[in-house]
């Protein structure tokens, strides 16, 4: 069955405490050159089939369910080639 991947990131202008904690950890570990780490979510939806209607619905779900538009942005929606396992 095909998989649709929805990716959600915290809004750039808002605090991302997770990313901040990881950025701090990298610098304490002496890893140079990482300016910022931001952490978002990756949703993998296994669906019956993919067509425009399904994609439109996923888009709607991405905005309403998978992300919270007050604090997050949906950055991408892609269809995974279902022959390749993720």
């Amino acid at each position: 069955m095909p998989t649709i991947v929805v990716e959600v990131m915290p809004k750039a202008e808002l605090l991302d405490p997770q990313g901040k904690a990881v950025t701090g950890a990298l610098s304490r570990m002496g890893r140079q050159g990482y300016h910022e780490v931001r952490i978002g979510k990756r949703f993998e939806l296994t669906v019956d089939h993919v067509d425009d209607a399904v994609l439109a619905e996923v888009k709607e779900l991405a905005d309403d369910v998978f992300s919270n538009s007050v604090i997050e942005d949906v950055v991408s929606i892609t269809v995974l080639d279902n022959t390749v396992s993720a």
Binding site: K20, A25, I39
Partner: protein, 231 residues
Amino acid sequence: MRIGVVTFPGSLDDRDAQRAVRLAGGEPVALWHGSHDLDGVEAIILPGGFSYGDYLRAGAIASLSPIMTEVVDAANKGMPVLGICNGFQMLAEARLIPGAHTRNAHQQFIRRDQRLRVENAATDWTTGFTQGQEITIPLKNADGRFIADDETIKRIEGEGQVAFRYVGVNPNGSFDDIAGVSNERGNVVGLMPHPEHATEPGFGPDTPAAMSSGVDGLTFFTSVIQKALVK
């Protein structure tokens, strides 16, 4: 006995662990995450809390702290180490004990007075219990679900590394109702519930005898102290 309690940024039950050590007759020593100095302690407690907000994975960032290099080293040489809740998660992230923790199966933070069965009364932290003894210890966590692959589970079950098991209710979906695990040698023990919160009459879990009178947790600390005395 001098017992170190490590404070990480975001540690919460560190002073409670110190108090428990004191109530058990030991001398608590505050240790700092950013240092490489174990200050000559004879045992170490990694306390509960949300170190670094538990933001990456519970206990993950703390397990990379400078002091953890020393803790891992000392543990491998046989020093008793107790990881409570977040400390348990750090032990797993540092690979001192097998397995890992994920979010509670029901997705919520849960606080409850939890019945446990002592499955191994031979570790450094459990000798004061009898095998199979049932105790009540407060539990409070969001990422308390202990998991490991089948092979690991089989191994730790077989080798007696399951130190505690949840009784009655499995509060977080942990595999095999596992509440606490030790390393092979039995000096490193991690568990989700908080023994330090069942050490002082009046501030512990309720018992049939009286409210807040449960002190089953005290035995963790007296066990390790007793063992040091015998040595």
